[in-house]
Protein backbone atom coordinates (compact mmCIF):
# COMPACT_ATOMS: atom_id res chain seq x y z
CA UNK A 1 0.00 0.00 0.00
CA UNK A 2 1.29 3.46 -0.96
CA UNK A 3 1.47 6.22 1.67
CA UNK A 4 -0.87 6.66 4.62
CA UNK A 5 -4.42 5.38 4.61
CA UNK A 6 -6.95 7.92 3.37
CA UNK A 7 -10.05 5.72 3.39
CA UNK A 8 -10.44 2.54 5.38
CA UNK A 9 -13.37 0.13 5.55
CA UNK A 10 -13.32 -2.53 8.24
CA UNK A 11 -15.88 -5.36 8.15
CA UNK A 12 -18.39 -2.99 6.61
CA UNK A 13 -21.88 -4.10 5.70
CA UNK A 14 -24.72 -2.16 4.20
CA UNK A 15 -28.34 -3.27 4.28
CA UNK A 16 -31.26 -1.70 2.54
CA UNK A 17 -34.91 -2.66 2.53
CA UNK A 18 -34.30 -5.76 4.61
CA UNK A 19 -31.62 -7.17 2.31
CA UNK A 20 -27.85 -6.97 2.67
CA UNK A 21 -26.26 -5.23 -0.31
CA UNK A 22 -22.65 -5.31 0.88
CA UNK A 23 -21.21 -7.69 3.43
CA UNK A 24 -17.99 -7.86 5.42
CA UNK A 25 -16.07 -5.41 3.25
CA UNK A 26 -12.56 -4.53 4.37
CA UNK A 27 -10.25 -2.28 2.39
CA UNK A 28 -7.54 0.30 2.92
CA UNK A 29 -7.04 2.98 0.29
CA UNK A 30 -3.53 4.32 0.63
CA UNK A 31 -2.61 7.84 -0.35
CA UNK A 32 -1.58 7.91 -4.01
CA UNK A 33 -3.11 4.54 -4.83
CA UNK A 34 -5.11 3.78 -7.95
CA UNK A 35 -8.05 1.40 -7.79
CA UNK A 36 -10.67 0.17 -10.15
CA UNK A 37 -13.90 -1.19 -8.78
CA UNK A 38 -15.78 -3.48 -11.04
CA UNK A 39 -18.64 -5.90 -10.91
CA UNK A 40 -22.00 -6.50 -12.57
CA UNK A 41 -24.72 -3.86 -12.59
CA UNK A 42 -26.48 -3.72 -9.24
CA UNK A 43 -23.57 -5.37 -7.44
CA UNK A 44 -23.15 -2.37 -5.13
CA UNK A 45 -20.36 -0.32 -6.73
CA UNK A 46 -22.21 2.97 -6.32
CA UNK A 47 -23.19 2.04 -2.76
CA UNK A 48 -19.55 1.29 -2.02
CA UNK A 49 -18.47 4.72 -3.28
CA UNK A 50 -21.28 6.39 -1.32
CA UNK A 51 -19.96 4.76 1.84
CA UNK A 52 -16.52 6.15 1.02
CA UNK A 53 -17.71 9.75 0.67
CA UNK A 54 -20.19 9.47 3.52
CA UNK A 55 -23.39 9.88 1.56
CA UNK A 56 -24.46 6.60 3.16
CA UNK A 57 -23.65 5.27 6.60
CA UNK A 58 -22.68 1.64 6.97
CA UNK A 59 -25.09 -0.59 8.86
CA UNK A 60 -22.18 -2.56 10.34
CA UNK A 61 -18.43 -2.16 10.60
CA UNK A 62 -16.27 0.94 10.56
CA UNK A 63 -15.57 3.45 7.80
CA UNK A 64 -12.65 5.80 8.41
CA UNK A 65 -12.04 8.80 6.16
CA UNK A 66 -8.75 10.61 6.60
CA UNK A 67 -8.20 8.47 9.67
CA UNK A 68 -11.40 9.58 11.39
CA UNK A 69 -14.31 7.25 12.15
CA UNK A 70 -17.26 8.54 10.15
CA UNK A 71 -19.67 7.49 12.91
CA UNK A 72 -18.18 10.13 15.21
CA UNK A 73 -18.19 12.94 12.66
CA UNK A 74 -20.74 15.71 12.93
CA UNK A 75 -22.25 17.22 9.79
CA UNK A 76 -19.69 20.02 9.60
CA UNK A 77 -16.81 17.54 9.80
CA UNK A 78 -18.42 15.45 7.06
CA UNK A 79 -18.69 18.61 4.93
CA UNK A 80 -15.05 19.60 5.46
CA UNK A 81 -13.84 16.08 4.66
CA UNK A 82 -16.00 15.98 1.55
CA UNK A 83 -14.17 19.07 0.31
CA UNK A 84 -11.08 16.84 0.19
CA UNK A 85 -12.85 14.23 -1.93
CA UNK A 86 -13.77 14.95 -5.53
CA UNK A 87 -16.66 12.81 -6.69
CA UNK A 88 -17.87 12.19 -10.23
CA UNK A 89 -21.41 10.98 -9.68
CA UNK A 90 -22.99 8.62 -12.17
CA UNK A 91 -25.99 10.98 -12.42
CA UNK A 92 -23.70 14.04 -12.22
CA UNK A 93 -25.78 15.78 -9.48
CA UNK A 94 -25.90 19.27 -10.94
CA UNK A 95 -27.96 22.22 -9.84
CA UNK A 96 -30.07 22.48 -12.95
CA UNK A 97 -30.84 26.20 -12.56
CA UNK A 98 -27.16 27.15 -12.60
CA UNK A 99 -24.96 27.24 -15.67
CA UNK A 100 -22.12 24.81 -16.25
CA UNK A 101 -19.39 27.19 -15.03
CA UNK A 102 -21.19 27.89 -11.77
CA UNK A 103 -21.87 24.20 -11.23
CA UNK A 104 -18.19 23.48 -11.66
CA UNK A 105 -17.40 26.27 -9.18
CA UNK A 106 -19.83 24.97 -6.54
CA UNK A 107 -17.13 23.30 -4.40
CA UNK A 108 -15.16 26.57 -4.48
CA UNK A 109 -18.20 28.58 -3.45
CA UNK A 110 -19.22 26.33 -0.56
CA UNK A 111 -15.65 26.15 0.73
CA UNK A 112 -15.61 29.92 1.14
CA UNK A 113 -12.89 30.58 -1.40
CA UNK A 114 -13.15 33.58 -3.67
CA UNK A 115 -14.64 32.71 -7.02
CA UNK A 116 -12.48 35.28 -8.77
CA UNK A 117 -9.32 33.51 -7.57
CA UNK A 118 -10.05 30.47 -9.73
CA UNK A 119 -11.60 32.13 -12.77
CA UNK A 120 -8.51 31.56 -14.91
CA UNK A 121 -8.21 27.98 -13.71
CA UNK A 122 -11.85 27.39 -14.42
CA UNK A 123 -11.32 28.49 -18.00
CA UNK A 124 -8.36 26.12 -18.32
CA UNK A 125 -10.41 23.24 -16.89
CA UNK A 126 -13.28 24.03 -19.24
CA UNK A 127 -10.85 24.03 -22.16
CA UNK A 128 -9.35 20.80 -21.01
CA UNK A 129 -12.67 18.95 -20.81
CA UNK A 130 -13.77 20.54 -24.07
CA UNK A 131 -16.60 22.59 -22.62
CA UNK A 132 -15.16 26.06 -23.20
CA UNK A 133 -18.12 26.95 -25.39
CA UNK A 134 -20.66 25.60 -22.92
CA UNK A 135 -19.71 27.57 -19.80
CA UNK A 136 -22.93 29.56 -19.86
CA UNK A 137 -25.14 26.62 -20.88
CA UNK A 138 -27.51 24.99 -18.45
CA UNK A 139 -26.78 21.34 -17.58
CA UNK A 140 -30.01 20.28 -19.29
CA UNK A 141 -28.61 21.61 -22.57
CA UNK A 142 -25.59 19.26 -22.43
CA UNK A 143 -25.32 15.75 -23.83
CA UNK A 144 -24.66 12.82 -21.49
CA UNK A 145 -20.94 12.85 -22.27
CA UNK A 146 -20.67 16.60 -21.80
CA UNK A 147 -22.40 16.33 -18.43
CA UNK A 148 -19.90 13.71 -17.31
CA UNK A 149 -16.99 15.88 -18.41
CA UNK A 150 -18.46 18.81 -16.51
CA UNK A 151 -18.88 16.55 -13.47
CA UNK A 152 -15.21 15.59 -13.74
CA UNK A 153 -14.19 19.25 -13.92
CA UNK A 154 -16.24 19.95 -10.78
CA UNK A 155 -14.61 17.03 -8.99
CA UNK A 156 -11.17 18.49 -9.77
CA UNK A 157 -11.77 22.18 -9.13
CA UNK A 158 -10.64 22.05 -5.47
CA UNK A 159 -7.65 19.81 -6.26
CA UNK A 160 -8.89 17.15 -3.83
CA UNK A 161 -6.76 14.47 -2.17
CA UNK A 162 -9.06 11.67 -3.29
CA UNK A 163 -11.05 11.31 -6.50
CA UNK A 164 -13.92 8.84 -6.65
CA UNK A 165 -15.52 8.38 -10.05
CA UNK A 166 -18.67 6.38 -10.65
CA UNK A 167 -18.80 5.23 -14.28
CA UNK A 168 -17.08 8.44 -15.47
CA UNK A 169 -16.76 7.20 -19.02
CA UNK A 170 -20.21 5.67 -19.31
CA UNK A 171 -21.51 8.18 -21.82
CA UNK A 172 -18.39 9.42 -23.54
CA UNK A 173 -16.68 8.21 -26.71
CA UNK A 174 -13.43 6.28 -26.60
CA UNK A 175 -11.28 9.30 -27.37
CA UNK A 176 -12.73 11.27 -24.47
CA UNK A 177 -12.58 8.15 -22.24
CA UNK A 178 -8.93 7.89 -23.02
CA UNK A 179 -8.35 11.60 -22.29
CA UNK A 180 -10.20 11.33 -18.98
CA UNK A 181 -8.25 8.25 -18.02
CA UNK A 182 -4.96 9.95 -18.87
CA UNK A 183 -5.95 12.88 -16.68
CA UNK A 184 -6.75 10.60 -13.77
CA UNK A 185 -3.42 8.81 -14.25
CA UNK A 186 -1.61 12.16 -14.29
CA UNK A 187 -3.43 13.16 -11.09
CA UNK A 188 -2.45 9.86 -9.51
CA UNK A 189 1.18 10.57 -10.35
CA UNK A 190 0.76 13.87 -8.47
CA UNK A 191 -0.15 11.83 -5.38
CA UNK A 192 -3.91 11.85 -5.65
CA UNK A 193 -5.81 8.74 -4.61
CA UNK A 194 -8.06 7.49 -7.38
CA UNK A 195 -10.90 5.01 -7.37
CA UNK A 196 -12.96 4.42 -10.48
CA UNK A 197 -16.09 2.29 -10.48
CA UNK A 198 -16.60 0.92 -13.98
CA UNK A 199 -17.61 -2.16 -15.89
CA UNK A 200 -15.59 -1.02 -18.92
CA UNK A 201 -12.90 -3.71 -19.05
CA UNK A 202 -11.11 -2.03 -21.96
CA UNK A 203 -10.63 1.05 -19.83
CA UNK A 204 -9.18 -1.06 -17.03
CA UNK A 205 -6.82 -2.89 -19.37
CA UNK A 206 -5.64 0.38 -20.90
CA UNK A 207 -5.04 1.86 -17.47
CA UNK A 208 -3.14 -1.17 -16.22
CA UNK A 209 -0.68 -0.77 -19.04
CA UNK A 210 0.09 2.75 -17.83
CA UNK A 211 -0.26 2.71 -14.05
CA UNK A 212 0.02 0.33 -11.15
CA UNK A 213 -3.69 -0.11 -10.50
CA UNK A 214 -5.45 -2.61 -8.27
CA UNK A 215 -8.67 -4.01 -9.62
CA UNK A 216 -11.34 -4.93 -7.11
CA UNK A 217 -14.55 -6.74 -7.87
CA UNK A 218 -17.78 -6.80 -5.94
CA UNK A 219 -19.35 -10.17 -6.24
CA UNK A 220 -21.98 -11.79 -4.07
CA UNK A 221 -21.99 -8.74 -1.76
CA UNK A 222 -18.29 -9.11 -1.04
CA UNK A 223 -15.17 -7.36 -2.23
CA UNK A 224 -12.39 -9.38 -3.78
CA UNK A 225 -9.31 -8.81 -5.87
CA UNK A 226 -10.06 -9.34 -9.54
CA UNK A 227 -8.35 -12.14 -11.43
CA UNK A 228 -5.18 -11.91 -13.46
CA UNK A 229 -7.20 -11.67 -16.66
CA UNK A 230 -7.55 -7.96 -15.82
Amino acid sequence: MKGHVVIELKNVAYSYGGGELLSDISLKLGSGSFHFLTGPSGAGKTTFLKLCYMELASTAGVVKVFEKDTRTMNRDEVAVNRQRIGVVHQDCQFLEHLNVATNILLPVMVSGRKRQAVTENLQSLLNWVGLENHAEALPAELSGGERQRAALARALILSPDVILADEPTGNVDWEMSSRMLNLLIELNKMGKTIMIATHDLNLIRTAKSKVNARVLRISNRRLQLAGADL
Binding site: Y53, E55, R75, D76, A79, V80, R82, Q83, R84, V87, H89, Q93, F94, L95, H97, L98, T102, L106, P107, M109, V110, S111, G112, R113, K114, R115, V118, E120, N121, S124, L125, W128, R154, L156, I157, L158, S159, L183, E186, L187, M190
Partner: protein, 317 residues
Protein backbone atom coordinates in the same frame (compact mmCIF):
# COMPACT_ATOMS: atom_id res chain seq x y z
CA UNK B 1 -1.12 26.04 -18.49
CA UNK B 2 -1.26 22.25 -18.04
CA UNK B 3 -3.52 20.32 -15.68
CA UNK B 4 -0.81 20.02 -13.01
CA UNK B 5 -0.45 23.81 -12.81
CA UNK B 6 -4.19 24.21 -12.61
CA UNK B 7 -4.53 21.71 -9.77
CA UNK B 8 -1.54 23.08 -7.83
CA UNK B 9 -3.04 26.56 -7.89
CA UNK B 10 -6.33 25.20 -6.63
CA UNK B 11 -5.04 23.73 -3.36
CA UNK B 12 -7.55 24.86 -0.70
CA UNK B 13 -6.58 27.50 1.79
CA UNK B 14 -7.64 26.31 5.26
CA UNK B 15 -8.02 29.84 6.57
CA UNK B 16 -10.46 30.81 3.89
CA UNK B 17 -12.40 27.57 4.45
CA UNK B 18 -12.72 28.40 8.14
CA UNK B 19 -13.75 31.93 7.30
CA UNK B 20 -16.80 30.54 5.53
CA UNK B 21 -18.26 29.45 8.86
CA UNK B 22 -18.83 33.00 10.02
CA UNK B 23 -22.41 32.97 8.89
CA UNK B 24 -23.69 36.06 10.62
CA UNK B 25 -20.91 38.26 9.31
CA UNK B 26 -21.43 36.83 5.86
CA UNK B 27 -25.09 37.69 6.10
CA UNK B 28 -24.34 41.31 6.88
CA UNK B 29 -21.64 41.56 4.25
CA UNK B 30 -23.76 39.70 1.74
CA UNK B 31 -22.87 36.72 -0.43
CA UNK B 32 -24.65 36.80 -3.73
CA UNK B 33 -23.22 33.42 -4.69
CA UNK B 34 -24.75 31.78 -1.64
CA UNK B 35 -28.09 33.29 -2.66
CA UNK B 36 -27.57 32.08 -6.20
CA UNK B 37 -27.36 28.39 -5.30
CA UNK B 38 -31.01 28.34 -4.29
CA UNK B 39 -33.32 28.81 -7.27
CA UNK B 40 -35.56 31.85 -7.12
CA UNK B 41 -39.02 30.94 -5.88
CA UNK B 42 -41.55 33.57 -6.86
CA UNK B 43 -44.40 32.20 -4.77
CA UNK B 44 -42.65 32.12 -1.38
CA UNK B 45 -40.88 35.39 -2.17
CA UNK B 46 -44.17 37.16 -2.80
CA UNK B 47 -45.78 35.52 0.22
CA UNK B 48 -42.96 36.56 2.54
CA UNK B 49 -42.81 40.13 1.28
CA UNK B 50 -46.60 40.50 1.42
CA UNK B 51 -46.82 39.02 4.92
CA UNK B 52 -44.05 41.26 6.21
CA UNK B 53 -45.62 44.28 4.54
CA UNK B 54 -49.12 43.60 5.90
CA UNK B 55 -47.81 42.89 9.38
CA UNK B 56 -45.69 46.05 9.37
CA UNK B 57 -48.75 48.06 8.31
CA UNK B 58 -50.72 46.62 11.24
CA UNK B 59 -47.77 47.14 13.56
CA UNK B 60 -47.73 50.87 12.72
CA UNK B 61 -51.36 51.13 13.83
CA UNK B 62 -50.79 49.05 16.94
CA UNK B 63 -47.84 51.28 17.78
CA UNK B 64 -49.91 54.40 17.13
CA UNK B 65 -52.70 53.03 19.34
CA UNK B 66 -50.27 52.16 22.10
CA UNK B 67 -48.59 55.57 22.04
CA UNK B 68 -51.87 57.48 21.72
CA UNK B 69 -53.48 55.70 24.66
CA UNK B 70 -50.32 56.33 26.63
CA UNK B 71 -50.66 60.03 25.93
CA UNK B 72 -54.36 59.87 26.76
CA UNK B 73 -53.70 58.21 30.11
CA UNK B 74 -51.05 60.80 30.92
CA UNK B 75 -53.36 63.68 30.01
CA UNK B 76 -56.24 62.33 32.04
CA UNK B 77 -53.94 61.72 34.91
CA UNK B 78 -52.42 65.19 34.91
CA UNK B 79 -55.21 67.46 33.66
CA UNK B 80 -58.06 65.96 35.67
CA UNK B 81 -56.01 65.62 38.80
CA UNK B 82 -55.35 69.39 38.68
CA UNK B 83 -59.02 70.34 38.90
CA UNK B 84 -61.99 69.60 41.16
CA UNK B 85 -65.58 70.73 41.51
CA UNK B 86 -67.64 71.73 44.51
CA UNK B 87 -71.40 71.37 44.24
CA UNK B 88 -73.52 73.34 46.69
CA UNK B 89 -77.22 72.91 47.33
CA UNK B 90 -79.13 75.33 49.52
CA UNK B 91 -82.51 77.05 49.69
CA UNK B 92 -82.66 79.96 47.26
CA UNK B 93 -82.60 82.63 49.94
CA UNK B 94 -79.47 81.12 51.54
CA UNK B 95 -77.59 80.30 48.36
CA UNK B 96 -75.60 83.58 48.08
CA UNK B 97 -74.49 83.41 51.68
CA UNK B 98 -73.49 79.77 51.39
CA UNK B 99 -71.54 80.44 48.19
CA UNK B 100 -69.71 83.35 49.80
CA UNK B 101 -68.87 81.22 52.78
CA UNK B 102 -67.68 78.43 50.49
CA UNK B 103 -65.43 80.77 48.51
CA UNK B 104 -63.96 82.03 51.73
CA UNK B 105 -63.19 78.47 52.83
CA UNK B 106 -61.67 77.57 49.45
CA UNK B 107 -59.56 80.71 49.30
CA UNK B 108 -58.04 79.87 52.65
CA UNK B 109 -57.35 76.26 51.79
CA UNK B 110 -53.66 75.55 50.97
CA UNK B 111 -53.06 74.09 47.50
CA UNK B 112 -55.92 75.82 45.72
CA UNK B 113 -54.76 78.29 43.09
CA UNK B 114 -58.07 79.58 41.74
CA UNK B 115 -61.77 79.35 42.39
CA UNK B 116 -64.36 79.98 39.70
CA UNK B 117 -68.09 80.12 40.31
CA UNK B 118 -69.94 78.95 37.22
CA UNK B 119 -72.43 81.52 35.99
CA UNK B 120 -75.99 80.60 35.07
CA UNK B 121 -75.02 80.82 31.40
CA UNK B 122 -72.13 78.38 31.97
CA UNK B 123 -74.38 75.93 33.79
CA UNK B 124 -77.04 76.24 31.11
CA UNK B 125 -74.43 75.47 28.44
CA UNK B 126 -73.39 72.39 30.38
CA UNK B 127 -76.96 71.13 30.67
CA UNK B 128 -78.03 72.06 27.18
CA UNK B 129 -76.84 68.83 25.52
CA UNK B 130 -79.02 66.86 27.90
CA UNK B 131 -82.16 69.02 28.27
CA UNK B 132 -82.19 71.16 25.14
CA UNK B 133 -81.80 74.94 24.67
CA UNK B 134 -85.10 75.94 26.34
CA UNK B 135 -84.28 74.60 29.74
CA UNK B 136 -86.08 76.70 32.47
CA UNK B 137 -83.06 76.94 34.73
CA UNK B 138 -84.82 79.33 37.14
CA UNK B 139 -87.58 76.85 37.84
CA UNK B 140 -85.26 73.95 38.63
CA UNK B 141 -83.49 73.37 41.95
CA UNK B 142 -80.09 73.21 40.33
CA UNK B 143 -77.08 73.30 42.64
CA UNK B 144 -74.35 75.85 42.14
CA UNK B 145 -71.05 74.61 40.74
CA UNK B 146 -67.65 75.98 41.67
CA UNK B 147 -64.48 75.00 39.77
CA UNK B 148 -61.29 74.60 41.72
CA UNK B 149 -57.87 74.77 40.10
CA UNK B 150 -55.06 73.32 42.17
CA UNK B 151 -51.61 74.74 42.44
CA UNK B 152 -48.53 72.56 41.94
CA UNK B 153 -48.73 71.00 45.41
CA UNK B 154 -52.45 70.13 45.27
CA UNK B 155 -54.83 70.26 48.21
CA UNK B 156 -55.81 67.76 50.89
CA UNK B 157 -59.19 66.51 49.58
CA UNK B 158 -60.10 64.63 52.78
CA UNK B 159 -59.22 67.63 54.95
CA UNK B 160 -61.27 69.95 52.74
CA UNK B 161 -64.27 67.59 52.90
CA UNK B 162 -64.14 67.61 56.70
CA UNK B 163 -63.91 71.40 56.78
CA UNK B 164 -66.80 71.78 54.32
CA UNK B 165 -69.02 69.45 56.32
CA UNK B 166 -68.40 71.62 59.35
CA UNK B 167 -68.59 75.08 57.79
CA UNK B 168 -70.69 74.71 54.60
CA UNK B 169 -72.81 71.58 55.13
CA UNK B 170 -74.55 71.81 51.74
CA UNK B 171 -71.27 71.67 49.77
CA UNK B 172 -70.00 68.43 48.23
CA UNK B 173 -66.42 68.16 46.90
CA UNK B 174 -65.86 66.09 43.75
CA UNK B 175 -62.15 65.71 43.02
CA UNK B 176 -62.89 63.55 39.89
CA UNK B 177 -60.99 60.58 41.34
CA UNK B 178 -64.18 58.46 41.28
CA UNK B 179 -64.30 58.41 37.48
CA UNK B 180 -60.74 59.51 36.69
CA UNK B 181 -59.18 56.30 37.99
CA UNK B 182 -61.21 53.89 35.80
CA UNK B 183 -60.49 56.06 32.75
CA UNK B 184 -56.77 56.08 33.41
CA UNK B 185 -56.93 52.33 34.06
CA UNK B 186 -58.81 51.83 30.76
CA UNK B 187 -56.27 53.92 28.86
CA UNK B 188 -53.45 51.95 30.49
CA UNK B 189 -55.11 48.69 29.43
CA UNK B 190 -55.44 49.97 25.87
CA UNK B 191 -51.75 50.81 25.88
CA UNK B 192 -50.90 47.26 26.95
CA UNK B 193 -53.28 45.89 24.33
CA UNK B 194 -51.37 47.88 21.72
CA UNK B 195 -48.07 46.49 22.98
CA UNK B 196 -49.52 42.97 23.07
CA UNK B 197 -50.76 43.45 19.49
CA UNK B 198 -47.23 44.35 18.36
CA UNK B 199 -45.89 41.24 20.09
CA UNK B 200 -48.58 39.07 18.47
CA UNK B 201 -47.84 40.62 15.08
CA UNK B 202 -44.15 39.77 15.53
CA UNK B 203 -45.02 36.18 16.50
CA UNK B 204 -47.45 35.82 13.59
CA UNK B 205 -44.78 37.16 11.23
CA UNK B 206 -42.29 34.65 12.63
CA UNK B 207 -44.79 31.81 12.21
CA UNK B 208 -45.62 32.73 8.62
CA UNK B 209 -41.98 33.18 7.64
CA UNK B 210 -41.16 29.84 9.27
CA UNK B 211 -43.87 28.20 7.17
CA UNK B 212 -42.62 29.89 4.00
CA UNK B 213 -39.02 28.94 4.81
CA UNK B 214 -40.02 25.34 5.47
CA UNK B 215 -41.84 25.25 2.14
CA UNK B 216 -38.76 26.64 0.38
CA UNK B 217 -36.49 24.13 2.16
CA UNK B 218 -38.77 21.22 1.23
CA UNK B 219 -38.97 22.38 -2.40
CA UNK B 220 -35.19 22.62 -2.58
CA UNK B 221 -34.36 19.25 -0.98
CA UNK B 222 -32.44 18.22 -4.11
CA UNK B 223 -30.45 21.47 -4.08
CA UNK B 224 -29.57 20.88 -0.43
CA UNK B 225 -28.48 17.33 -1.26
CA UNK B 226 -26.17 18.49 -4.07
CA UNK B 227 -24.69 21.24 -1.90
CA UNK B 228 -23.93 18.74 0.81
CA UNK B 229 -22.33 16.36 -1.70
CA UNK B 230 -19.90 19.08 -2.79
CA UNK B 231 -18.98 19.83 0.83
CA UNK B 232 -21.31 22.62 1.93
CA UNK B 233 -21.70 23.08 5.67
CA UNK B 234 -25.12 23.60 7.22
CA UNK B 235 -24.16 27.22 7.88
CA UNK B 236 -23.59 27.88 4.19
CA UNK B 237 -26.84 26.21 3.12
CA UNK B 238 -28.86 27.90 5.86
CA UNK B 239 -27.33 31.27 5.01
CA UNK B 240 -28.62 31.07 1.46
CA UNK B 241 -32.16 30.79 2.77
CA UNK B 242 -31.75 33.05 5.81
CA UNK B 243 -30.33 35.96 3.82
CA UNK B 244 -33.05 35.68 1.21
CA UNK B 245 -35.91 35.62 3.71
CA UNK B 246 -34.38 38.33 5.89
CA UNK B 247 -34.01 40.71 2.97
CA UNK B 248 -37.53 39.94 1.75
CA UNK B 249 -38.98 40.55 5.19
CA UNK B 250 -37.02 43.79 5.53
CA UNK B 251 -38.08 45.17 2.15
CA UNK B 252 -41.70 44.06 2.60
CA UNK B 253 -41.83 45.58 6.09
CA UNK B 254 -40.28 48.83 4.82
CA UNK B 255 -43.05 49.21 2.25
CA UNK B 256 -45.73 48.24 4.80
CA UNK B 257 -44.34 50.67 7.37
CA UNK B 258 -44.24 53.50 4.86
CA UNK B 259 -47.86 52.81 3.88
CA UNK B 260 -48.86 52.63 7.55
CA UNK B 261 -47.15 55.92 8.39
CA UNK B 262 -48.83 57.65 5.43
CA UNK B 263 -52.20 56.25 6.54
CA UNK B 264 -51.64 57.50 10.10
CA UNK B 265 -50.67 60.94 8.76
CA UNK B 266 -53.91 61.05 6.78
CA UNK B 267 -56.07 60.31 9.85
CA UNK B 268 -58.19 63.29 11.03
CA UNK B 269 -56.75 65.12 14.01
CA UNK B 270 -59.19 64.28 16.82
CA UNK B 271 -57.52 66.61 19.31
CA UNK B 272 -58.76 69.59 17.31
CA UNK B 273 -62.37 68.44 17.70
CA UNK B 274 -62.11 67.62 21.35
CA UNK B 275 -60.08 69.09 24.14
CA UNK B 276 -60.21 65.77 25.88
CA UNK B 277 -59.35 63.08 23.37
CA UNK B 278 -56.11 62.84 21.50
CA UNK B 279 -55.59 61.78 17.90
CA UNK B 280 -54.48 58.24 16.95
CA UNK B 281 -51.04 59.05 15.70
CA UNK B 282 -47.52 60.00 16.58
CA UNK B 283 -46.36 63.23 18.18
CA UNK B 284 -42.89 64.74 17.92
CA UNK B 285 -40.11 62.24 18.49
CA UNK B 286 -42.65 59.38 18.45
CA UNK B 287 -42.44 59.43 14.62
CA UNK B 288 -39.07 57.70 15.04
CA UNK B 289 -40.69 54.55 16.44
CA UNK B 290 -42.09 53.19 13.12
CA UNK B 291 -38.55 53.26 11.71
CA UNK B 292 -37.71 50.36 14.03
CA UNK B 293 -40.37 48.11 12.46
CA UNK B 294 -38.45 47.03 9.29
CA UNK B 295 -35.24 46.11 11.19
CA UNK B 296 -37.37 44.31 13.77
CA UNK B 297 -39.12 42.37 10.97
CA UNK B 298 -35.70 41.48 9.54
CA UNK B 299 -34.51 40.22 12.94
CA UNK B 300 -37.70 38.16 13.34
CA UNK B 301 -37.23 36.71 9.83
CA UNK B 302 -33.55 36.00 10.48
CA UNK B 303 -34.26 34.10 13.69
CA UNK B 304 -37.30 32.27 12.27
CA UNK B 305 -35.58 31.20 9.04
CA UNK B 306 -32.36 30.19 10.76
CA UNK B 307 -34.31 28.09 13.26
CA UNK B 308 -36.37 26.48 10.47
CA UNK B 309 -33.32 25.89 8.27
CA UNK B 310 -31.18 24.21 10.92
CA UNK B 311 -34.13 22.11 12.09
CA UNK B 312 -34.79 20.97 8.53
CA UNK B 313 -31.11 20.36 7.78
CA UNK B 314 -30.87 18.29 10.96
CA UNK B 315 -33.70 16.11 9.70
CA UNK B 316 -32.13 15.69 6.25
CA UNK B 317 -29.21 13.54 7.36
Amino acid sequence: MNISDILKSLTPDKHTVLAATKGAIQLLKGDQHADQVVPPSGHTATLTSFTAGAMAFLAVFALALSLATGRLADRWKTELSQSATVRISAPEDQMSRQVSKLIEVLNTTPGIAAVNVLSEADQKALLEPWFGPDIPLDDLPIPKLIDIIQDGNGFDADGLRLRLSAEVPGAVLDDHSRWRKPLVRAAGSLRWLGTLSILLIALATAAMITLAANAALATNAQVIKVLRLVGARDDYIAQAFVRRFTLRAFSGAAVGTLAGVIAVMLLPDASAASGFLTGLGFVGWQWIWPMFIPPLAAIVAYVATRFAAFKRLGELT
